[in-house]
């Protein structure tokens, strides 16, 4: 058992507690450095572990209670496969970037910010490495608590409190749904280790109310974190008010952790007993994905608060991730994984630009910032590079992810998936492009009646902001996002990893019987014409519609008014009121669970 594995989570957690102990007496810069080191070292360890997981699953049993082959797993076990290690590596890289960016960005009592960030990152890394369902739940809660707190960091204003309150209440109820699912599974199988539950559930063979309810609740609970419709309302509120480096982590990995959980639990626990129902499960989840992608794309265009705009873009992409996942196919899953990586870097970079704008220009409203970004050359470059990455042009940015998902969907007969992906991509990226044109080029008018007005955010106090470091990190992330699409090796590795991930019997054999699963067959990249066509469509579509919307003052007024009326209902639904959110949560769970109940017989 490799000691590096637990250290990936233990080092940042220990550092967090030490920092809390001495934080009041050390200079802020020291706290920042401790944070960066405590994030960078586990990132390196995660990278090393990643190299060791090629075609293998590494097990780690805590407390030394390694069960003999065939024994019941009494202790908590982690099962590190390539996907898990890769995701943990991504989390820690982003955490390190966020902490470097935050160098001297926050005000006094900065050590508490670093403490919470370290706890947040460590929890996400531990979550994806874990092989025990309750252990996953514990780290899920740790990640949530840290996230709620970080959202409310700017305590002087009221919007952060709305954002964090809604975030906390809605996500906690999502966690309860997951807990109900865990309790039901425990009641049936008596186990908490994912592999063991899967084996027992499959041997039992019943796919009755308990199994379907457990699957529905666990899926819906994690869909809340994954911000899918109708559980998505909290995301825009939280992103709008959390500090920019925190938003980087939220959009980059926190939302994606929800998808990881659904995929992991499906493929280790439920695939055996619900495997014959792949078709209905696929259809239901695809439905949720489509609605989410469209909602996100539509709402994105209505925003003038830059961070809220980016948040809705995340929701649109989340819908696309779910589509990739819902196809229940290793190719599509690999595609979703690469898509997540490219999106994380690109979207993260966009949020960091938002932070730079807030710090240097004192605002985050697209219309009020009209033309004010003109001399921020590095930030502008990062913004447009990241926008290009999200527009998914051929062999750049999210292209490989899109291509894999589209090809997989076509093979399975879902010919309309590329259309939905294109709509979501164009809708959200056009709005981002529009904002960039308005802010950095000064194009278009300074007013647009369709966009929703939001309260302004106060900039962080300027203690000689280290603009150089912030800009460098921002640009680096944007370029990384762009290059993801160029490296087809990443895509093929992701698909190979997906084959291991979706191999339920291999996972169980590795964890419980200590048998090495057969390595997956090596994948090669095939470029299909349709993927290139769609890539060009999304690129051209995003740029054109972006240009078109920035000059909305030149549109005929009747068109603007018609649009405004059409958007009315969907805009009104996003009311900001927590009671509405929870009502939608209940309704959504009932619908999704009901669909599962009816189709899985």
């Amino acid at each position: 058992m490799n000691p590096m594995i637990p250290l990936i989570a233990a080092i940042p957690l220990l550092a967090a507690t030490l920092l809390a102990l001495v934080g009041k007496w050390i200079p802020d810069a020291a706290a920042d450095i401790v944070g960066m080191v405590a994030a960078a070292v586990p990132a390196v360890l995660a990278g090393i572990v990643l190299t060791r997981t090629v075609g293998r699953i590494l097990s780690y049993w805590f407390g030394g209670w390694r069960p003999r082959a065939g024994d019941f797993p009494v202790a908590i076990g982690w099962a590190v496969d390539r996907f898990g290690a890769g995701f943990a590596f991504l989390v820690l890289i982003l955490l390190t970037s966020a902490l470097v960016y935050s160098w001297r960005y926050m005000e006094a009592d900065r050590y508490l910010y670093v403490v919470l960030m370290l706890a947040f990152g460590a929890a996400m890394a531990a979550f994806v490495l874990s092989g025990d369902i309750f252990n996953m739940f514990v780290f899920f809660e740790l990640m949530s608590v840290a996230a709620f707190a970080l959202t409310a960091y700017k305590v002087e204003e009221t919007s952060p409190l709305q954002g964090s309150f809604n975030f906390a209440v809605v996500n906690t109820i999502g966690a309860f749904l997951v807990l109900f699912g865990i309790a039901l599974l425990y009641g049936r199988t008596g186990a908490l280790n994912l592999a063991e539950i899967g084996v027992r559930l499959t041997n039992d063979g019943r796919h009755d109310g308990l199994v379907i309810a457990a699957f529905a609740f666990i899926t819906c609970g994690f869909l809340v974190k994954a911000a899918c419709v109708p559980f998505h309302f909290w995301l825009a509120d939280a992103h709008a008010t959390a500090p920019a480096p925190v938003c980087l982590l939220f959009s980059g990995v926190m939302v994606e952790v929800g998808f990881f959980a659904i995929a992991r639990i499906y493929w280790t626990v439920f695939d055996g007993v619900l495997g014959e129902f792949q078709h209905p499960i696929r259809d239901v989840l695809l439905g949720v994905g489509v609605v989410t992608a469209i909602t996100g794309a539509v709402m994105c265009g209505l925003q003038r608060h830059v961070k809220r705009l980016l948040a809705y873009s995340t929701i649109a992409h989340a819908g696309c991730f779910l589509i990739g996942l819902a196809l229940l196919d290793p190719s599509a899953l690999g595609g979703a994984a690469v898509y997540v990586i490219a999106h994380a870097f690109a979207k993260g970079s966009l949020f960091l630009v938002g932070g730079i704008l807030l710090m240097t220009r004192g605002g985050i409203d697209e219309l009020l910032l009209h033309g004010l970004g003109k001399r921020l050359y590095v930030a502008a470059a990062a913004w447009f590079i990241a926008t290009l990455a999200l527009a998914s042009p051929p062999f750049l940015g999210t292209y490989t992810g899109h291509a894999l998902i589209e090809d997989s969907a076509s093979k399975l007969g879902y010919w309309w998936v590329p259309i939905v992906l294109a709509f979501a991509t164009i809708g959200s990226t056009a709005a981002i492009f529009r904002a960039g044109l308005r802010i950095f080029i000064g194009a278009g008018a300074g007013d647009d009646p369709i966009l929703s007005q939001q309260p302004s955010e106060s900039p962080p106090p300027e203690e000689d902001p280290e603009l150089g470091i912030m800009s460098a990190v921002t640009l680096l992330l944007a370029v990384a996002g762009l290059l993801c699409g160029a490296w087809t090796g990443l895509a093929t590795r992701a698909v190979e990893a997906a084959h291991t991930f979706t191999d339920r019997l291999g996972y169980a054999a590795a964890v419980l019987d200590h048998r090495v699963p057969p390595p997956p067959a090596p994948e090669t990249w095939h470029t299909t014409t349709s993927s290139i066509v769609w890539a060009v469509v999304t690129l051209v579509g995003s740029l054109t519609i972006g240009f078109g919307s920035v000059y909305r003052n030149r549109w005929p007024e009747s068109m603007t008014r018609a649009l405004d009326t059409a958007y009315g209902p969907i805009r009104a639904i996003h009311s900001g009121h927590v009671g509405d959110y929870v009502a939608w949560l209940a309704f959504g769970t009932a619908v999704i669970g009901g669909l599962f109940a009816v189709t899985i017989r």
Partner: protein, 250 residues
């Protein structure tokens, strides 16, 4: 959405969720006839293997000790978060507030209760492996002893005793030592959170091996965490009541 629309939407949803939940629980083993293997295995193993009499504590600190570590960190994060949220009001600003209860009988009984509670706390923690109890329960009781002081005596005394200068390090040390004890196992060539002390005798205070140390870590962390949370709320409340808050920026 109007209130009635919202409640209508919710009731429709709740009907569905309720149906699914009921449908799910009806397939559970009949109440009282649970047959899962996990509990039985642990109950059989806890005495011979770990010399721990309390199976629940054995699971919490030993078999599933890593979960408990995560949970300690949750409490730690929440306490740090509350401290962060209330950072605008300085504890130093409330140093002179007394807010006393003016009844000698109540004061006296309160002090007595506080002392007894403190002793009880140590007892509950120490006997965690032998009787119902353990780090969590004991930690909460420990924090309660200080709360007694505020409720029956005065804020000033509470602040002197439970100042965040004491509570925060207590909590950080507790949480940190939990993780640290896990790492110390590495020095002995064991897995994270492996046991590195001899197990002692079942039924005695000194049993359970290094899980006993982890028990104390969690007691400190929980006590510290609750004290920090309570102190922060109280500080905010006292400052608001006695006019020590800074002007709020709208």
């Amino acid at each position: 959405m109007t209130r009635s629309m919202r409640i209508g939407l919710f009731l429709a949803g709740a009907a569905g969720v309720g149906f699914l939940l009921v449908w799910g629980v009806l397939d559970l083993p009949t109440f009282g006839h649970y047959a899962g293997p996990y509990g039985d295995i642990v109950s059989k193993l806890t005495e011979p293997q770990r010399h721990i009499a309390n199976a629940v504590t054995a699971i919490v600190f030993d078999y599933r000790g890593f979960d408990t570590m995560g949970e300690e960190l949750i409490l730690f994060s929440a306490a740090s978060a509350v401290a962060m949220l209330f950072r605008e009001t300085r504890e130093a600003d409330t140093k002179d507030i007394v807010d006393a209860v003016r009844a000698d009988a109540v004061n006296g009984l309160g002090v007595l209760a506080a002392i007894v509670t403190l002793l009880l706390a140590f007892d509950v923690v120490a006997h965690g492996f032998v009787t119902p109890g353990g780090g969590f329960q004991g930690g909460v009781v420990f924090a309660a002893a200080f709360v007694f002081v505020y409720f029956t005596c005065e804020y000033h005394a509470y602040l002197r005793l439970a100042t965040t200068k004491f509570a925060e390090p207590l909590e950080s040390f507790g949480a940190g030592s939990f993780v640290g004890l896990g790492m110390i196992a590495f020095a002995f060539g064991l897995a994270f959170m492996g046991n590195f002390i001899d197990y002692g005798v079942t039924g005695r205070i000194r049993s359970g091996g290094s899980a006993a140390l982890v028990n104390w870590s969690s007691a400190l962390a929980v006590a510290g965490g609750f004290m920090v949370i309570f102190s922060e709320y109280l500080k905010d409340n006292m400052a608001a009541r006695y006019g020590r808050t800074k002007k709020v920026v709208q």
